[in-house]
């Protein structure tokens, strides 16, 4: 998971605003997950780093796909 300290090192490319931790809802194949992730304080664009995308998110997708 991305820490607050790591999130604060990033800024939104479109808005130039700093990222803040937000509760984000993921929906995938009827599965719903609430998680705190860094997002732009202006446009709410969510930042998902590679570790999360290829790690936990990939495992969860595989489980929900019943693989």
């Amino acid at each position: 998971m991305i820490s607050l300290e790591e999130a604060q090192q990033w800024a939104c490319d479109a808005c130039g605003k700093p990222l803040v931790m937000r509760e984000v809802v993921f929906l995938y194949l009827n599965g719903t997950f609430h998680v705190d992730l860094p997002a732009c304080s202006e446009c709410d664009f969510v930042f998902i780093n590679e570790e999360l995308a290829t790690g936990k998110m990939a495992e969860v997708e595989g489980i929900l796909e019943d693989k």
Partner: protein
């Protein structure tokens, strides 16, 4: 999962700490401590004949969420039964006056033929003698009384020997054997539905909240290594079913 009947728990990795008494499962599954929450109960209620006032026993009631729901929304005379003192105490505090009994599922302190209905969700796979337990359910039901049941089952029918001896998923059986047990216990199956996606959702939530399923299982493995458990569970392709069965008259 929750249980009223985790007997012989010394060999079970979920016995210490008891998974169903920890916040680890509750964070992912909610107060019902089972896949789908109240979803399958609500679906099953559409298929049973339980008018207001029907006497229903919820086996493995945990904190009594199902029993309270049945009383409040269906006006049933619902009673909860569980083995966990901790969960029953929590349920009594949350729902003062809710009738809750501490007992094993295998030996019910209930008279023969005294109940109109029973619910048993995510419990049978944890008892030592599932056929005997189903016969016990049949004993306390009236003729024609209905059992609303959900549980894990094996979609790949490997033998118990292929799972670690201490794996609680070893208690999950195949669809064919489960239906055979119900028949031998004197039930006529009125509904069988696969709801495996609800188990997948719970597993996904556990993986998400704990980092991965291996990390989830590692919290309960005696040696701290959840990989054998994860591999064994994956090999049996666990599914989840909703069943409604009636005691033959």
């Amino acid at each position: 999962m929750k249980t009223s009947s985790l007997s012989g728990g010394a060999a079970c990795p979920l016995a210490a700490p008891r998974l169903y008494e920890t916040d680890i499962l509750r964070r992912a599954a909610g107060n019902t401590l089972r896949p789908g929450g109240l979803t399958l109960l609500q679906e099953g209620l559409q298929r049973v004949n339980w008018p207001a006032g029907t006497r229903v026993l919820d086996i493995g009631c945990g904190t009594g969420t199902t029993a309270a729901y049945l009383r409040q929304t269906q006006s049933l005379q619902a009673i909860g039964l569980d083995l966990s003192e901790q969960l029953l105490a929590e349920g009594a505090a949350a729902n003062p006056g809710l009738p809750l009994i501490r007992s094993r599922a295998e030996k019910l302190p209930i008279a023969d033929g005294s109940l109109d209905g029973m619910t048993c969700e995510c419990v049978l796979s944890l008892v030592n003698d599932p056929l005997g337990t189903l016969r016990e359910f049949s004993r306390v039901l009236k003729d024609g009384g209905q059992l609303l049941f959900s549980d894990i089952y094996r979609r790949r029918n490997i033998t118990n020997q292929e799972l670690p001896d201490n794996c609680c998923f070893a208690g999950a059986t195949s669809r064919e054997r489960l239906l055979d047990w119900l028949h031998k216990a004197g039930f006529t199956v009125q509904l069988w539905q696969d709801r495996s996606h609800l188990l997948a959702e719970l597993a996904a939530r556990l993986a998400w909240q704990n980092g991965s399923l291996i990390e989830f299982w590692s919290q309960f493995a005696a040696n701290g290594d959840g990989r054998p458990m994860q591999q064994a569970v994956k090999a049996m392709r666990p599914g989840y079913c909703l069943v409604v069965a009636a005691k033959q008259g």
